[in-house]
């Protein structure tokens, strides 16, 4: 704790930041660009960091970087993408091998998560993959805790619908 340098405080969270960026952007190239830009910003704002939660702080920067890009790239409202329910990659593989692959659970779940609107997707990732508390998520997304809770709840409902409520518990056993 003697030295609060960029390297000791921020660099340990780059994997988590990249994971978050990858789920936001849904592709490797954008995720790397976002992480890179976010790291630059993180460095510039490093002196303003109150050292209590550097990971959440870095997530916030990653998120702002991506939201700014989305807004820039497409002049459409950048909070929700409810039109994204369709799988972004067409998946009409005719051969049995591809069909088998497609049925594999992880892949199905991944696609279901990727099909969620951005604001649903990010709360799922922050909670389920990164294990952030509601308070931390609220900090990252700049919304009240109540919003975090309702968004998370709706995102989970949506996933359960997408994955099939009857099939879910059976698949885990």
């Amino acid at each position: 704790m003697s030295q609060h340098t960029f390297e000791t405080v921020v660099v340990p969270h780059l994997d988590a930041a990249h994971n978050y960026a990858r789920w936001l952007t849904r592709n490797d190239a954008d995720a790397e660009d976002v992480l890179q830009d976010a790291a630059v910003r993180a460095f510039r704002f490093f002196s303003s960091l109150r050292a209590d939660n550097p990971r959440a702080w870095l997530f916030t920067i990653v998120r702002n970087t991506w939201y700014a890009r989305v807004a820039q790239r497409e002049a459409r409202p950048h909070v929700t993408e409810y039109d994204e329910m369709a799988d972004p990659r067409p998946n009409h593989h005719p051969d049995p091998e591809a069909q088998l692959l497609r049925q594999q659970t992880v892949d199905r779940v991944r696609r279901a998560v990727e099909s969620l609107p951005l604001d649903f997707r990010e709360v799922i990732v922050l909670r389920e993959l990164e294990g952030l508390s509601y308070k931390e998520i609220a900090e990252v997304i700049g919304a009240p805790i109540g919003t975090v809770m309702s968004r998370l709840s709706r995102a989970r409902e949506r996933l359960i619908d997408l994955l099939g409520p009857a099939a879910l518990p059976g698949e885990v056993r």
Partner: protein
């Protein structure tokens, strides 16, 4: 608690965000209510599935580059000008560009290897051809409904390449259209799939005596591989491209 009240806090309950009293209240309700219990079970099952999702670590080179950039900038931290900020961004952009070209080159080699391996394997197997015909109007329609793209199947007889047939194949996790052409006794494979960003758009190489050439045609990536000499393959590629 009513079912409705439980429903509104069910996520907070599972996420450990309720205080002890509320948690106990929800637990009591769940003891007696199968329908709410079902909701809890669904969410628990979902959570298990979600924890199996891929976790995307940052590429090691990128982490190193960021760490290095951070260190070098700490050293001259007092220089807080726009120039410093701009330089930072330039350095960063440079690493990303560099990284991407490294990755692109690695991926291109890996794909070339895979294409050549498939070429050799397929020639040795009995399933080289799923649709045998020297007529492009037989081979091309055969792919219809089997692929979500339409591979060009040109007639290259006049250039000295005879169409033998085609099949569906898989290369490095992608579904590809495989076309087989023949020049004298040499087989030429053409693999076609939708182009993705990470591979060099066009390139050629020779590996273990096989020549490989690939190029992008519209939004399709086309890979030709054979043991014919490289000039013949170059000619083949030119003829194939020109026929579109």
């Amino acid at each position: 608690m009513t079912c409705h009240e439980v429903t509104t806090v069910i996520d907070a309950y599972l996420d450990g965000e309720l205080d002890a009293d509320q948690t106990a209240n929800v637990a009591r309700h769940l003891d007696t209510c199968a329908s709410c219990r079902r909701h809890v079970e669904e969410r628990e099952a979902l959570s298990v599935l979600l924890r199996r999702l891929p976790y995307y670590d940052a590429p090691p080179q990128l982490k190193t580059a960021i760490g290095r950039t951070g260190r070098s900038l700490s050293a001259r931290r007092r220089v807080r000008t726009w120039m410093a900020a701009a330089a930072t961004i330039l350095i960063a952009a440079g690493t990303v560009g560099g990284l991407r070209s490294v990755r692109s080159s690695q991926e291109t080699s890996a794909t070339a290897d895979a294409v050549i391996a498939r070429h050799v394997e397929a020639l040795a197997s009995s399933s080289l051809i799923q649709v045998a015909s020297s007529d492009q109007h037989t081979v091309k329609p055969w792919f219809q409904g089997k692929l979500d793209f339409s591979p060009p199947v040109p007639d290259l007889t006049s250039a000295g390449f005879e169409l033998v047939g085609g099949r569906i194949d898989r290369i490095g996790g992608r579904t590809a259209a495989a076309l087989v052409y023949k020049r004298r006794q040499h087989m030429i494979h053409v693999f076609v799939w939708p182009a993705s960003g990470n591979v060099r758009a066009s390139d050629a190489r020779t590996i273990r005596g096989f020549h490989e050439r690939h190029w992008t045609s519209g939004d399709l990536s086309v890979w030709a591989v054979s043991d014919v000499n490289d000039d013949d393959l170059k000619m083949f590629a030119a003829a194939y491209m020109a026929s579109r």
